[in-house]
């Protein structure tokens, strides 16, 4: 959704989620191409379509909210970035390099006993890489949360499923 970039607007939105008892999985916020307007992407787990509709309507009621789009059912490009710090010793270092390659992930920091992997992609892909790295010993993970766009052409309309993205 797009919002006026005013002081407190994030507070307003997250406050609304708390007030209405909705759980946020992730939020991303950033500037759009228009000055003064930000894009927020939320991933929210909901039980049914009615709840999704209610969230959309409540968000729309906010004066600073310009446009809300529930893109759960639409063809979308969704991306997340994660930094994963993995414990390594010299013997497994090469193994990790090979392992992350199909993910088109990269190593962005290396130290004696750890390295930091950076991966970008759909949340499932990020999830899969984290799973694969777990056995080596993950020290820290930082994820940005999902940001998303609808695709230029809408071919497929997937059936309704959670999580719900706005």
């Amino acid at each position: 959704m797009t919002v006026n970039n005013r002081p407190g607007v994030l507070n307003r939105i997250t406050g609304l989620f708390t007030k209405r008892h909705y759980n946020i999985e992730s939020i991303t916020v950033g500037h759009t191409e228009i000055e003064g307007i930000s894009r927020m992407t939320f991933v929210v787990n909901v039980e049914d379509e009615r709840t999704a509709e209610q969230i959309t309507k409540q968000l729309n009621k906010q004066i600073d909210v310009l446009k809300v789009n529930d893109i759960t059912d639409q063809a979308i490009v969704a991306r997340e970035l994660a930094l994963i710090k993995v414990a390594v010793n010299p013997t497994v270092r090469q193994e990790i390099y090979t392992l992350i390659e199909p993910f088109r992930a990269s190593i962005v920091d290396v130290s004696r006993d750890s390295l930091v992997v950076q991966v970008t992609g759909e949340p499932e892909k990020v999830e899969a890489l984290i799973d694969l790295l777990k056995p080596y010993g993950i020290k820290e993970v930082a994820r940005t949360g999902t940001t998303a766009f609808t695709r230029g052409s809408q071919k497929t309309a997937a059936s309704y499923k959670t999580p719900f993205i706005i």
Binding site: G8, N11, G15, L16, Q58, N60, I63, L66
Partner: protein, 577 residues
């Protein structure tokens, strides 16, 4: 001519302080009265108020100010304006903001704030008022640039009064009240994120017309949305055109004449038998400007189980929120009703339905057993109704007396009823009466309050006396937190935990201490006598009625039950016994 315009513009744009801008903006908005309370952070504003010519009412507590503003808004249809200082002044209005938010009352509230450069440092009388009030306002602002102030005030009035009305708060750091800027109040409001839908969708209207024509048991549930839209006339016209009976929510009372044959009474927890049964039995439910509050619907599982639901509301988020809705109509109530009347659809055949409802109405009316040796609270309300010819403005507090007032004062006209519905705020009734009286100087204003709730804001008697407002304060004194006592009697085995208050102050003496005339009554005859006396006086009077203390409000739908599971319904014959 053109030159004059330019000259005017130039003059308007002369530099002035933020405090003066506020005054000028209030004048431009034709604000008749401000309710407020000064303090450090708003001293520059109060200084400019001093010789502004604006009428300011100094209530004795900020909560009093905001409830008075609510009462004013309810009766005048204009936004109530409040000023409170930073910190404790602002936190004292939190209850009123929530109340106004719940009941869709238009308010523009100014709070002082510590100076911009110390915000966030826990300065003296600093409170994060923006943070605290975000979920309880329709919108809020903090002024960060003096040049923005006129625009903010203009937007605030626009937002408070359009669409679904509500409270808007403007938090003004002290330095913003002294900083100077150009005052331009001519600008248009431009809010791309706020475009309320006023006109109904034609297709949905057609759907409703079709559904009505097919219905056998249609019913209209009308809420305060009808009053906000000033659509009482249209509601009556539509109901009569289509022969559809009308039920009101607590807040909607007065939207449809209570003595109209199509009126079934109030719905919900203490609604009439006929209204609740009609909601249970109907096959088409047309909700106009009500939000299906749980006190109206009872257990949703049993709510209107056989009905197609249509919902006309200016707030799209209310449609489908609690009750699945087949025909959603986002619109101003008046516009939608006008369109429905214009469509003049095929009348449904409601003869059998109306006959059934009429039978229920005669068989199961609201009833109580009178006892002239005491003052029965229901009788008391009926007497007030009689003696005011049903034309008074009635404000109430919250509790049993509120329900009795709703049940037994028959409102035939709109905008005569002021009560706290959604939040159920004790302490609302007395200050609300001040605002109501200021909104309609010629009205007979009766403030019906409980002995407990009265004590939450009784300091406002000072204002009533000072302004010589001829309000009649009626204390329904059952020496208890009556509604709490009733629940404890019914649901907690009569374990009256902290609900009996036998050691009340002497309310008559208390009123006298405020220089207000006061009378007490303990029997029906005394009650009638003092009421007559009070209504003959054009000055404030407080009346302390010692009513029968263990009286309960019936009928009642217990929490968790369906509307059809009312208890305490007596048939006519039974209640005469």
């Amino acid at each position: 001519m053109a030159n004059m315009k330019v000259e005017e513009k130039r003059q308007q744009r002369t530099k002035m302080s933020g405090a003066l801008m506020l005054i000028e903006a209030l004048k431009a908005e034709n604000v008749e009265v401000i309710f407020g309370y000064p303090g450090g952070a708003v001293l520059p504003i109060y200084d400019k108020l001093y010789d502004s010519g604006l009428f300011h009412v100094l209530t004795r507590h900020e909560q009093g100010a905001i409830h008075a503003a609510e009462g004013y808004a309810r009766i005048s249809g204009k936004p109530g304006v409040v000023i409170a200082t930073s910190g404790p002044g602002a936190t004292n209005i939190v209850t009123g903001l929530t109340d106004a938010m719940m009941d869709s009352i238009p308010l523009v509230v100014f709070t002082g704030q510590v100076a911009s450069n110390v915000i966030g440092s826990d300065a003296f009388q600093e409170a994060d008022v923006l943070g605290i009030t975000m979920p309880i306002t329709k919108h809020s602002y903090q002024v960060r640039d003096i040049q923005e102030l006129p625009k903010i005030i203009k937007e605030a009035f626009h937002i408070a009064t359009t669409g679904r009305p509500g409270p808007v708060l403007i938090d003004i750091p002290k330095d913003m009240t002294t900083a100077e800027g150009e005052f331009d109040y001519e600008q248009d409001v431009h809010l791309p994120g706020y475009q309320p839908t006023i006109h109904p969708n034609h297709l949905q209207i057609r759907k409703l017309v079709e559904a009505v024509s097919q219905a056998k048991k249609p019913v209209i549930l009308a809420g305060a949305g009808v009053l906000h839209a000033d659509a009482s006339k249209e509601l009556q016209q539509y109901a009569e055109q289509q022969h559809i009976p009308v039920i009101h929510t607590l807040l909607g009372l007065g939207g449809f004449p209570a003595d109209h044959p199509l009126f079934l009474g109030m719905a919900g927890m203490h609604g009439t038998y006929t209204a609740n049964m009609a909601l249970y039995e109907c096959d088409l439910l047309i909700n106009i400007g009500a939000r299906f509050d749980d006190r109206v619907t009872g257990n949703l599982k049993y709510f209107a189980p056989n009905a197609t639901v249509a919902h006309i509301d200016i707030d799209p988020a209310e449609i489908g929120k609690n009750v699945p809705t087949k025909i959603p109509i986002v619109s101003d109530a008046k516009e939608a009703l006008k369109e429905l009347i214009h469509q003049d659809g095929k009348r449904p055949d409601t003869t059998a339905w109306l006959a059934q409802l009429a039978e229920w109405k005669t068989k199961f009316p609201l009833a109580y057993q009178n006892d002239a040796q005491t003052v029965k609270p229901q009788k008391l309300i009926e007497m007030i109704y009689e003696l005011t010819n049903g034309e008074a403005v009635v404000t109430t507090d919250v509790g049993q007396h509120q329900m009795w007032a709703a049940q037994y004062y028959k409102f035939n006209k709109p905008h005569r009823w002021v009560t706290s519905g959604g939040l159920g705020t004790m302490g609302f009734g007395l200050p609300a009466a001040i605002g109501a009286q200021l909104a309609d100087k010629n009205a007979t204003v009766v403030s019906i309050v409980g002995d407990a709730g009265f004590q939450m804001t009784l300091q406002e008697l000072s204002v009533i006396q000072e302004l010589n407002l001829p309000i009649k304060v009626v204390i329904v004194n059952n020496q208890s937190l009556g509604m709490v006592r009733q629940w404890q009697e019914i649901f907690y085995e009569k374990r009256y935990s902290h609900s009996l208050v036998p050691n009340q102050p002497d309310f008559v003496k208390l009123a006298e201490a405020y220089n207000i005339k006061a009378f007490r009554a303990k029997t029906e005859e005394e009650a009638r006598h003092v009421l007559k006396q009070a209504f003959s006086l054009s000055e404030p009077v407080l009346l302390d009625f010692h009513v029968k203390a263990d009286e309960n409000v019936y009928p009642m739908v217990a929490p968790g039950k369906g509307l059809h599971e009312m208890v305490g319904v007596k048939s006519c014959e039974e209640s005469l016994q």
